[in-house]
Symmetry: C2
Subunit: 261 residues, 2 copies
Amino acid sequence: MGTITKALNLLTYFSESTPEISLMDFRALTGTDKATIHRHLTELLANGYLEQNKSTRKYRLGASILRLASIREKTFPARRIVSQWVRKLSEETGELVHASVIQQMNMSPLCFHDAGIGGTRVYFNEADILPLHATASGHAAIAFGPPDLLQTISRSRLRKFTDFTITDFEQLKLAVERTRQNGFAYVDQAYEQEVCSLAVPFFENDRFAYGSISIAMPASRMRDANKAQHVRALWNAAENISHELGGTIPQNLKNLWLIAA
Amino acid sequence: MGTITKALNLLTYFSESTPEISLMDFRALTGTDKATIHRHLTELLANGYLEQNKSTRKYRLGASILRLASIREKTFPARRIVSQWVRKLSEETGELVHASVIQQMNMSPLCFHDAGIGGTRVYFNEADILPLHATASGHAAIAFGPPDLLQTISRSRLRKFTDFTITDFEQLKLAVERTRQNGFAYVDQAYEQEVCSLAVPFFENDRFAYGSISIAMPASRMRDANKAQHVRALWNAAENISHELGGTIPQNLKNLWLIAA
DNA sequence: TGAAGCAGGTTCATTATTTGAACCTTTGGT
DNA sequence: ACCAAAGGTTCAAATAATGAACCTGCTTCA
């Protein structure tokens, strides 16, 4: 792991519940020597990726991040585009909907929306990163994303989150194959207990998925009838998102969708 | 300059007008060897700070930045707080208003708003970083911000932007002293031709300025009458912003404002 | 009040990582 | 099918990152 990654890794410890972190906190979190951490923090500070609370000396995320986020959204408004469809889908279905993009070995959430009609709610934290092997989002990404994803995953251990989590690579390959044939991913309680989810990929080019959009719901509310309905709604959203992102659904996948719908 | 800074520096080349950059572009921009740049880009890519356009192989800002920005705004909503006052001030005065935070040797813009009533408009690019010595924002920051700022500046050359730019450190010290005594900064066409600006600091603690809020206007529209009015409006905005950020205006500065108002 | 404890921050010799010239590979144009 | 240009990789040389030890300033408690 290079120095850059080590430094950037420090930023990932911030979250809604942990907005400020001290030097010693970082040492406890990372196990690295405090001199090293301090130098990394200083450099991040100098570049505006962190700010320091002058009285507590704790660090928080800095203003440079906002500047960059603003540039990205103005020039490649993936979040804005995706979020309107996520919201629409959530309001139509009454379930939690989220969209995530492929990042290395994980799915990084772009946005989510919970219309929250039902009595039980699925918890979702935008700051969390989702594993590829244990979520419908991830399966959709593996099935329709960059072809090297599967191979990359094969080199790492598959963490067990629940009793349903797939931890065997061959089984994962089967699940991915099923996803390819169905044109959507379905994962049942493999990441969180009592939560199952559906997902389909969206595209910013005409080759590999850029990310996926997913409906997560309490297992108790999942019926075959609404499952088919949800999948159709997801396909529709994915088509619109891909179009607005300047991408297209690959022909073979599109055919699948047309036949099934 | 450490490796981290070199890598993060690559991100600063992105802007609204340059949303995608290729490896060779980077080489031309930085002058560094392409192997080095490539490794840096790969590491930024792996951490989601960049994404790669699969067809052109060019790089663009990544989704991790959005995630971090979202966390920062949820836990320390400086931009949201500041932007409402910036907007209000712009609408009241009909001029361009912007707020920036102190970052190392520069001011990093948080947000701006241009009510655009006048025939001539001041151009403002959110992605640009403002020099401390040549802008009212900067003078306000030096005068009321961390005490080491002046010393840091003394070690670097003061770049000449226009014929009015202060390039002599002693002169800058005088201008800062004047700013301290007035309780606001006034800079006349020192950064851009025909643009002059007023600025006052705001605080997120009770010691040193966190940033400054500024009105920029065509030199032709600047009159002593509206200047006094603008300064009062800025003071009011700075007081409100500081309060919402959890900071307070230091007593000596507050006295100045009370007497002058 | 003053001594101890602790967190933040700094130094410097050691060590490991970054670096870039040269090389290989892929892509796009003619 | 070729060439040129850009993307990407390798490996010895050089430079920058590392962490134990040290310093400093703040808080706490006898």
